[in-house]
């Protein structure tokens, strides 16, 4: 107890040094907490936007279509009026489902072309699954007929306005070129930048007729009671497909968002890098402080040894002192981090500001990113800060404590 008291009093010897070392630890902890909060926010918002506006909770398609889905092929399609889909949609966990037809095209404004992703949607059913109607910025939601809606980003890029005619050039199922001239009746402004910049929505029937696919669709999208149900439900549907010897396959939202989840995992690696930086900062600060303290107190170390203190008791004094620095640094870091996370959660931060403008690196967030709150991280990093300080102090403390008492006493 007395040695602990002495160690804590030692923190007041060189207040500036204690404060600077503590602030180095605080800085690392602050950056980690803010970065973690951003990653949590980024992850939650990205997945929400992707599921709400792109993938829905669950999709069913041909297994072979899945393998090439990024190319949006026109083979391995499904019948729109599908008995099995109708049957499984009676499952009480299914809130709504809708068919979609995906294909690639180039959009033309009379001067230039731009590659786009065209999605033929059932104008009545689709809004029950993907609520695009909530993001109409100008004009109206898609109706049956030769109409189209596009995102705000694409409209700005191609200089389209509501009531303009757009021309889509594409290959039909047979591989011949065809075009669609559709009146632009609405502009979308969603929180998903890819939808705003790349997607063109047309009525499903218009797409089927223009592509010569008949009553075929690419996939069925399902909206469930909760996102979490999709994992179990996809398994249930797949068992059924397998029993019936069908080549259909259900994919839950995690599988549908696998690219994004991989990208978010990358973010977790960045957090590990931040942890490593904290270790380096704290270790350097604490080692420097302990070595300086030991050098300044060599005579005291000699005196303590003369009094009969054992080396481990002297190590204990320095380690507790370092733990004190860790506690101060971690406390300040956690308080500052708490303020930073609160501001991130309430005010948010613009992704384009963070990335310097144009690109969002494929992150499906067009608006501000809002931080996430993760109390476990606060607890973890607080303990981590103290632990790193303690561990970093052991070697220099042992170096000081193992000094020959005579050399320590008469080092001058």
């Amino acid at each position: 107890m007395f040695l602990t008291k002495l160690a804590l009093r030692n923190l007041t010897r060189h207040k500036k040094r204690t404060v600077i070392t503590s602030l180095v630890i605080s800085f690392g902890i602050f950056i980690f907490l803010v970065s973690d909060s951003l990653m949590v926010g980024l992850s939650d918002m990205s997945l929400d936007n992707n599921v709400d506006l792109q993938t829905a909770h669950l999709q069913i398609m041909e297994e072979e279509y899945w393998a090439n889905k990024d190319e949006m092929p026109l083979d391995n399609l499904l019948k729109e009026d599908n008995k099995i889909i109708k049957e499984i949609s009676n499952n009480p966990q299914v809130k709504a489902y809708t068919p979609r037809l995906y294909f690639t095209a180039t959009i033309n404004n009379g001067r230039e072309d731009y590659p786009v992703k065209v999605i033929g949607i059932n104008t009545k059913k689709d809004v029950e699954v993907i609520k695009l109607d909530e993001y109409i910025l100008e004009g109206e939601m898609l109706q049956e007929g030769k109409f189209a809606i596009i995102g705000k980003g694409l409209s700005e890029l191609m200089d389209f306005r509501v009531n303009d005619y757009i021309t889509l050039l594409f290959k039909t199922k047979e591989g011949t070129y065809n075009t669609i001239d559709a009146k632009l009746i609405g502009l979308l402004d969603t929180p998903h930048p890819n939808i705003n910049k790349q997607n063109v929505y047309i009525p499903l029937l218009l797409g089927q007729n223009s592509l010569n696919t008949g009553d075929k669709v690419s996939r069925f999208l399902f909206n469930l009671e909760t996102r979490e149900q999709s994992i179990q439900l996809a398994e249930q549907f797949n068992r059924r497909f397998s029993q019936d010897g069908m080549s259909l396959k259900a994919y839950n939202w995690e599988k549908l968002s696998y690219e994004m989840l991989a990208m978010l995992k990358q973010g977790n690696i960045e957090n590990l890098v931040m942890l490593f930086i904290i270790i380096i900062l704290a270790t350097a600060g604490v080692i420097n402080t302990v070595i300086l303290s030991a050098l300044e107190r060599l005579e005291e170390i000699g005196m303590m040894k003369a009094l009969g203190l054992r080396a481990y008791e002297i190590v204990y004094i320095f380690v507790i002192e370092a733990a004190g620095i860790g506690i101060i640094g971690s406390t300040i870091g956690v308080i500052l981090g708490g303020i930073g996370v609160y501001l991130l959660k309430e005010v948010g931060i613009s992704l384009s500001m963070m990335t310097g403008g144009e690109t969002t690196f494929g992150i499906p967030i067009a608006e501000n990113i809002y931080g996430g709150w993760n109390p476990e991280t606060f607890f973890f990093i607080f303990i981590f800060g103290i632990l790193v300080s303690v561990l970093a102090s052991i070697l220099p403390a042992r170096w000081g404590a193992k000094k020959d008492p005579v050399k320590a006493l008469y080092h001058k």
Binding site: N10, R13, E299, E300, M303, L307, A311, L409
Partner: protein
């Protein structure tokens, strides 16, 4: 029975390839309650001898016996720490007080690390010894609030509070003026008489030697003069 017995103690420092002998075959016996001064010119080996007696340094050769039975050269590092903790008191030229502790706490330090002393007993011992060295009322002052003489008194109190059998003092008055030096020496003499504590201190100050009851002169690592009595022939 003697408190301490040195038998052919030698100490050689190795400086690169050169061996520098600091102590050359010293044999001595110190009786309990002695008030002994080791004197000699700088570099004669006084401090080295004190460090060896205080188990802070190990002799290159020879033996040291404590209370006739304990052979100090056979003790491990931890056993030597314990030996110092329970049996020895040190007074250094620079008082070596801990600046973040008060006078009371600096003195208390020496017995906080000894098991079996209650808080009440500890407080009584510390206050009693601080009174004995004339620091009554200054218990709560930190070293930077004390004069040089007062600091050295705290160091003496720290050395004596555990009532050690032997106190080793390396030039305890070197940093003090003559008035303070005399006061410090009187205190040590008083404690020697009151508690029966054995004192061995090194010095080359004739004023200090006048207080000695035994004078040991060291030159070039050897004892050249050893005299005991009330009226010693103090060299000037």
């Amino acid at each position: 029975m003697s408190l301490l017995k040195l038998k052919n103690v030698e100490k050689v420092y190795h400086q690169g390839k050169i061996d520098v002998p600091a102590i050359r075959g010293i044999s001595l016996e110190i009786e309990k309650g002695e008030f002994t001064t080791i004197f000699g010119p700088s570099g004669s080996g006084k401090t080295t001898l004190l460090n060896i007696i205080g188990c802070l340094d190990k002799p290159t050769d020879g033996e040291i016996y404590y209370e006739a039975e304990k052979k100090l050269s056979t003790l491990t590092k931890n056993e030597l720490s314990d030996f110092r903790r329970y049996n020895l008191g040190f007074i250094f030229q620079g008082h070596n007080l801990i600046p973040v502790l008060t006078a009371f706490e600096n003195v208390e330090f020496a017995i906080r690390i000894i098991d079996g002393i209650s808080k009440k007993e500890r407080r009584e011992k510390v206050l009693d010894i601080l009174n004995s060295v004339g620091l009554e009322g200054l218990e709560d002052r930190r070293p930077n609030e004390l004069s040089g003489g007062q600091k050295q008194r705290v160091a003496i109190a720290r050395a004596l509070v555990k009532n050690p059998k032997l106190v080793l003092a390396d030039e305890p008055t070197a940093n003090l003026d003559s008035e303070n030096s005399q006061e410090i020496l009187n205190i040590m003499l008083k404690m020697n008489k009151k508690l029966g504590t054995t004192f061995i201190f090194s010095t080359h100050d004739p004023q200090v030697m006048e207080y000695a009851r035994r004078l040991i002169e060291i030159r070039d690592g050897k004892v050249t003069h050893d005299e005991q009595g009330e009226n010693l022939d103090v060299p000037h």
